[in-house]
């Protein structure tokens, strides 16, 4: 049974039995892992406060039989406490970790995604990440996972999206008006939405107006749930508490 040390971001936790906890980690070197934290619920001292979503930890892990690993120790490297003092920041951070959890598979290294999430949590913590930042983070995370919605050209003919474009999650992005009849699920979207999302994809960080953000949220929700096969839970939360 091999023991190893890694850096990890906590994606989620779930109580296991009377006294233990299962922790889903995105590690720097080993990708996503599910770690068994024995006694994490009973003994407050051993992992105190460390096994919370979006904590950055230095962890000692031990390989066990099966796909789970055992968590031997966890030191907090960054608690992102600034991002725990505001409901909008909490909502964005939880959405970001849930997206990363759903986009990755166990034991597959995702160094870029780790660094992307780490950088985004740092920005939230410094209160430098407004609602548009979440859209930008999502687009980057999707790109890392090989899911890059196409906004600059028609997904079917490759031509310009035109003045009255549509968006079709099944075909992977924008669809021009003439191709519309071949994409039955496509919904009409404003042309400036596509150019706004394209700008975010290219790394521009100009905040989008609230109305466009709401449309972007809708487009990304259907895109993500189409490709993951389910809707993210924290996105409903954001809608319920009226945040983005």
């Amino acid at each position: 049974m091999e023991r190893f040390v890694d850096e990890a971001l906590v994606l989620s936790t779930v109580d296991y039995g009377e006294s233990d906890r299962l922790v889903t980690l995105l590690t720097r070197e080993h990708g996503k892992l599910t770690a068994f934290a024995a006694g994490a619920r009973k003994s407050k001292r051993r992992f105190a406060g460390a096994l919370e979503p979006y904590m950055r930890l230095r962890v000692q892990l031990v390989e066990t039989r099966g796909s789970t690993v055992r968590l031997d120790s966890a030191d907090i490297v960054a608690g992102y406490y600034g991002a725990r003092e505001d409901l909008a920041l909490i909502a964005r951070a939880l959405y970001a970790v849930e997206l990363c959890r759903e986009l990755t598979r166990d034991h597959e290294p995702h160094l870029e995604l780790f660094e992307l999430l780490e950088a985004y949590l740092g920005k939230l913590d410094a209160k430098e990440a407004g609602p548009t930042s979440l859209l930008a983070f999502e687009l980057s995370a999707l790109a890392q996972a090989g899911l890059m919605p196409r906004f600059d050209s028609c997904s079917l003919c490759g031509g310009p999206p035109g003045e009255r474009p549509r968006f079709d999650q099944a075909h992977g992005g924008a669809v021009c008006e003439p191709c519309g009849f071949r994409a039955r699920d496509a919904v009409a979207v404003p042309a400036e939405l596509l150019s706004g999302l394209r700008a975010l994809q290219e790394g521009q960080r100009t905040p989008l107006p609230a109305e466009l953000r709401a449309r972007a949220r809708g487009v990304l929700n259907v895109f993500i749930s189409h490709h993951l096969g389910r809707r993210l839970k924290s996105v409903d939360f954001m809608a319920q508490v009226g945040l983005d």
């Binding site: 406060g49 907090i76 406490y81 409901l87 939880l94």
Partner: protein
Amino acid sequence: MTPDPLNRLVAQLAKLPGIGEKTAQRLAFHILRAPGEYAQELSQAIREVKEKVHLCARCFSLTDSELCGFCRDNRRDERTLCVVETFADLMALERTREFKGRYHVLHGVLSPLDGVGPEQLRIKELLTRLGDGHVEEIILATNPDVEGEATALYLTRLLKPMGIRVSRIAQGLPMGGDLEYADQATLAKALSARREL
């Protein structure tokens, strides 16, 4: 071969939290050996807890009448309301004998990753309760984890515009504790929540 009724009792007891097969057997034998009225009273108590205990119509703690003891007690200060996640948390606060106001039990916390939103908690009922204008201060006593914090922040957003004073229970080092052995998260919180003397 053990008799079936005994097996059934062991199986039921083993379903209780923290009770393994062996302990369940020991408990079952104890019940078997005890005087007959003990088994009577035990089964009666178990039946009654399900039949008679329900949620208080006002604060959603547990009671066997329309309103719970905390809501009926006129000596308790109705101007201060303490909001907790669970009935167990209410009992913990009650054990301090420090709090003389009234309670409101949410029955959970906002949990974005589990899909638990405001509608699944007793938040609407809390707002309705405030309609009579008696409450002046609300103490938010949810747990100091990300879900408890999110719940407290969400409630603050709803309550502040109503002109109610909202406070959050303090977080930090345990009494009689040793700084050297405090965990990082608690110590960090204690530092950031320091107060001027």
